[in-house]
């Protein structure tokens, strides 16, 4: 039997996740997330009381960071933050290249 079709939705710009939820869903520890924020690799969308909240888009960034950490067995979060920035830059440039090749 054909499965039902589910609606894929745009990721709400305004929807937010807490540090705890971001940690649970990305596989990075809260300490690692904090260092990534301090290094400017992740940007909290707002400060809610004393805790950070992140946009849902941060989930994709945090997942990429976890994948890099695991794939290269990195144990230094500062290096991870730098690597993450390079990966983001490469993705931006590749997207730009794809646009020009079309």
């Amino acid at each position: 039997m054909a499965p039902d079709a589910y609606d894929a939705i745009e990721i709400e710009e305004t929807a937010v996740v807490s540090v705890t939820e971001l940690s649970a869903r990305s596989g990075l520890s809260e300490v690692e997330l904090r260092v990534l924020v301090e290094c400017g690799a992740l940007h909290p969308s707002q400060l809610e009381g004393a805790t950070w909240v992140f946009s849902r888009r941060s989930l994709a960034v945090a997942r990429t960071a976890r994948r890099l950490r695991d794939d290269y067995a990195l144990d230094d979060v500062h290096s991870l933050a730098i690597l993450l920035r390079y990966v983001q830059r490469i993705e931006e440039l590749e997207a730009e290249l794809r646009r020009y090749r079309r």
Binding site: I9, E10, R25, D70
Partner: protein, 311 residues
């Protein structure tokens, strides 16, 4: 189940320390990671070394692996009789899983026994890559794909499963965008909410349109006289052909904007279509045309290189 020699895959001895294993893995990860490697079969190799490292870096998994005994690579084997009781998490289901799944279940069993969550936990999110044609991205589409997951079998073990998933992609999605299918990740634990399914969208290149977010760009070749005199030309847009007014004196490289003719999202937000003027010249001209060009050259005081004078 086929045996894999994780030590041989990482190129270390069976008595290697944790640091030696990590160092060997890092070296191989740098060599074979599909993001950076140009080696043939890099992806397969990388999967193999990361599977080996996943087990050997964890003291408990490594002990469980060592308990399996030594076998030749590729040899069919079954874990010893007591193995499942010591390291497994439930009913053995060794026939339809591979070594990697077996050690995922060692970790699952360990977490289940020692760190049983007492509160609700959200289910794991799933992630899939969805390739769309330009037209599908523009109009929206219903797509069906296979999602491979490792899931609980209901008896405490894990199994590999493939689910057919059908989703409706809204119109106006762009390359590199991530979409969310709420609640279609793994089921929650202890009554927690299910995870979400995230879709990474890849949009195929279109022969005419270049995309930049919701904006579209198209090249607009003009005849020299159209550029000089101005013209009304018909150009294609994804929504159908439209007439574009080219103002007199249009230069090559100049951009003409068609407001709201880019990608349109379901929420009403839309991009623009930018036509980039190019001056095309005929490569074959007959005698009469050649005479007209000569006459034009004689009459014109236009110097396209005036700005180069004195440099």
């Amino acid at each position: 189940m086929k045996y894999k020699d994780y030590y041989a895959i990482l190129g270390v001895g069976r008595t290697a320390g944790a640091d030696e294993i990590k160092s060997a893995y890092r070296k191989l990860a740098r060599k074979y990671h599909p993001d950076v490697s140009k080696e043939k079969d890099a992806e397969e190799k990388f999967k193999e070394v990361s599977e080996a490292y996943e087990t050997l870096k964890d003291a408990e998994k490594r002990a469980a692996y060592d308990e399996l005994g030594r076998h030749a690579s590729g040899e069919d084997f079954r874990p010893p009789p007591d193995w499942e009781r010591a390291y497994g998490s439930g009913q053995p289901a060794f026939d339809d899983i591979d070594l990697a799944d077996l050690f995922a279940s060692v970790a699952g069993g360990r977490r289940g026994r020692r760190h049983a969550p007492d509160g609700p936990l959200p289910g794991q999110d799933y992630e899939a890559r969805v390739a769309l044609s330009f037209e599908q991205a523009y109009h929206g589409a219903e797509v069906e794909f296979d999602l491979g997951v490792i899931e609980h079998d209901g008896e405490g073990g894990l199994r590999r499963a493939t689910h057919k998933v059908k989703t409706r992609i809204p119109k106006g999605v762009v390359d590199g965008q991530t979409l969310r299918v709420p609640g279609k990740g793994a089921p929650g634990i202890n009554g927690g909410p299910p995870g979400d399914l995230f879709l990474d969208i890849v949009v195929a290149a279109h022969p005419l349109y270049r995309t930049d977010g919701l904006d579209l760009h198209v090249d607009l070749p003009l005849a020299p006289w159209e550029a000089v005199l101005g013209a009304s030309v018909e150009i294609p847009t994804p929504g159908g052909r439209v007439a574009l007014k080219v103002p007199p004196g249009t230069r090559a490289g100049q951009t003409l904007r068609l407001g709201g003719r880019g990608m349109a999202r379901a929420d009403g937000k839309s991009g623009h279509l930018y036509a980039h003027a190019q001056i095309a010249v005929p490569t074959v001209v007959d005698e009469k045309q050649r005479a007209l060009y000569r006459e034009l050259a004689e009459h014109s005081a236009f110097d396209p290189r005036a700005h180069l004078e004195g440099n």
